[in-house]
């Protein structure tokens, strides 16, 4: 694995999918049930957040490099 600068959007997406995946796993193994009506909105909002984070990181990096 090659090292590279941190991709914070990937972190947000990863946490989103870990939470969603664990919610499904827990609902499949326990009596607690995941309310699927919430899953798709959470997915949409989460992916939107990923896009926002990606845009913020890019916009932050560009001026920093130019000003240095």
């Amino acid at each position: 694995m090659s090292r590279r600068s941190a991709d914070w959007a990937s972190l947000v997406a990863g946490l989103l999918f870990v939470l969603l995946g664990l919610a499904f796993v827990v609902s499949g193994t326990t009596a607690w049930e995941v309310n699927v009506l919430w899953v798709l909105p959470v997915l949409a909002i989460g992916l939107g957040l990923v896009g926002v984070v990606r845009a913020l990181v890019r916009s932050r990096d560009r001026p920093d490099r130019r000003s240095s």
């Binding site: 694995m1 090659s2 090292r3 590279r4 941190a6 991709d7 914070w8 990937s10 972190l11 997406a13 990863g14 946490l15 989103l16 999918f17 870990v18 939470l19 969603l20 995946g21 664990l22 919610a23 499904f24 796993v25 827990v26 609902s27 499949g28 193994t29 995941v34 699927v36 899953v39 798709l40 997915l43 992916l47 990923v50 560009r62 490099r65 130019r66 240095s68």
Partner: protein
């Protein structure tokens, strides 16, 4: 849609003049998604750029063929999986299959997919959805033939293209910002801390030297830290870069494959139900989603996890569908229902994709009896035949398509909702006995539902 010719003579001269850079030329030679000109994912824009056909035509083709049992939707998803990204990185399927797919092969696969969808549609009989699929297929074939593509040769070569063990292209590394290096201030890009002026002087001398041989310099530790020059970037592009993203995706694919094997062993056999039944889907698909999430978290600092997030999103949608509907009970193709007892209509009639026909003329109904019949066809057409001696209350709903009630009402469009009643025909004589027969006629409540398709209710003689 089988168009194996990259843009050449048919290319619009103005666009050719607009994009003369090497990168733009490579983008045209390769079949890549075009994020900049795209509307959703850049698939249609990329296809348009590669084939020289306006992207609007491609978008229209995807939308029109989506009416034929959703064919356009899965063709679009298929194209997204097959096409390289805007920077020329390998397509997701290229990574998974670990082999290179040429633009011609991708176009041939899309054409083959449309031909396959048309063939499947013909299984249920010839209908308007067949025309919706066949017309773009024939037009695409004619256009390709007109451009000199030998379709029979493409069909013969496709297996060879798919089995060729040529590795996929490397993912391009991130382009350094040109502003990073300032020749007038070479130390400006250095990290904070003391600056070794000897190193700066050596770097400046190396940059000003006309000697193109950079191999010797690579051995010195200082040179590894120096910012890249434009020439260095060219050299880096010429050298094979490490395959970023492939290994991580491969590891996650192996984990998912192992998880699938465990599920099959636990279920005692290989079946779709073991993975996608409402009981198994939360565990299996939840596990897959979690694996994708962990891969993305690891990818924050390690290898670029490109392509994992869309896959995880698709699996999440699939998990939602699997927990709300029993996907293993979905039916595809042609369905003919002719219930002969009221007990047979208590459960809803369901068809996932295809053509269905519900004949209620054999249903025995007593005067004054009220029976509810529910029919759900995901994508396709539905014809309901009801006897004209019964009152039929229709509640039809279609996300997209057409809803028709005998010869009286017909709606075409998006978000259709039809609530109407078909009065019995046999009692329309006007005398007292006939009016009594009408008032005591049995009632059929028809609840029809479809995502996209054609819903029709017909009165037939009892």
């Amino acid at each position: 849609m089988v168009d194996g010719e990259p843009r050449d003579e048919a290319r619009a001269p103005e666009s050719a003049a607009a994009d003369t850079s090497p990168a733009a030329g490579a983008a045209e030679r390769e079949l890549r998604r075009d994020d900049a000109a795209g509307v959703i994912t850049g698939v249609a824009a990329g296809l348009g750029r590669h084939t020289g056909i306006d992207p609007v035509v491609w978008r229209t083709a995807f939308a029109v063929t989506a009416l034929g049992g959703g064919t356009g939707l899965w063709l679009y998803a298929f194209a997204w999986l097959l096409m390289r990204d805007a920077r020329g990185g390998p397509a997701l399927l290229e990574q998974l299959l670990n082999r290179r797919l040429s633009g011609e092969a991708v176009l041939a696969l899309l054409g083959g997919g449309l031909a396959l969808g048309t063939a499947f549609n013909l299984i249920g009989g010839f209908g308007w959805t067949t025309l919706v699929l066949a017309v773009p297929l024939v037009l695409g074939g004619l256009i390709a033939h007109n451009r000199g593509v030998d379709l029979s040769r493409v069909a013969r070569q496709l297996p060879e293209w798919l089995t060729k063990r040529e590795p996929p292209p490397n993912a391009p590394g991130s382009e350094p910002d040109p502003a990073y290096y300032n020749p007038a201030q070479p130390w400006a890009a250095a990290p904070s801390g003391p600056i070794d002026l000897a190193v700066v002087a050596r770097q400046s001398a190396a940059r000003e030297a006309p000697d193109p041989d950079d191999e010797e310099d690579e051995d010195s530790g200082e040179d590894r830290e120096r910012p890249p020059r434009p020439k260095d970037r060219d050299d880096a592009a010429a050298r094979p870069s490490p395959r970023r993203g492939v290994s991580l995706l491969g590891v996650s694919a192996w984990i998912v494959a192992a998880l699938t094997a465990v599920v099959f062993v636990h279920a005692g056999g290989v079946s779709v139900g073991a993975l996608l039944s409402p009981q198994a889907a939360p565990l299996y698909l939840g596990g897959v989603i979690t694996v994708c999430g962990v891969v993305l978290v690891v990818g924050t600092w390690a290898v670029n996890p490109r392509g994992v997030a869309p896959v995880a999103a698709l699996v999440t949608v699939l998990a939602v569908a699997a927990t709300t509907t029993d996907l293993t009970q979905l039916r595809f193709g042609d369905a003919r229902w002719r219930p002969a007892a009221v007990s047979e209509v208590r459960e809803p009639f369901e068809l996932g994709v295809g053509q269905a026909r519900l004949d209620l003329t054999a249903l025995p109904l007593e005067p004054g009896q009220e029976v509810t019949v529910r029919v759900r066809v995901g994508f396709g057409s539905l014809d309901v035949l009801v006897p004209d001696s019964v009152r039929t209350v229709v509640h039809g709903r279609a996300g997209f398509g057409r809803v028709a009630l005998a010869d009286r009402v017909s709606q075409l469009g998006v978000g259709l909702a039809l609530h109407d009643t078909l009065e019995p025909v046999s009692g329309s004589g006007g005398d007292g006995a006939a009016e009594e027969a009408v008032s005591e006629a049995p009632t059929l409540d028809l609840v029809l539902d479809s995502y996209a398709g054609d819903l029709e209710v017909w009165h037939v003689a009892a």
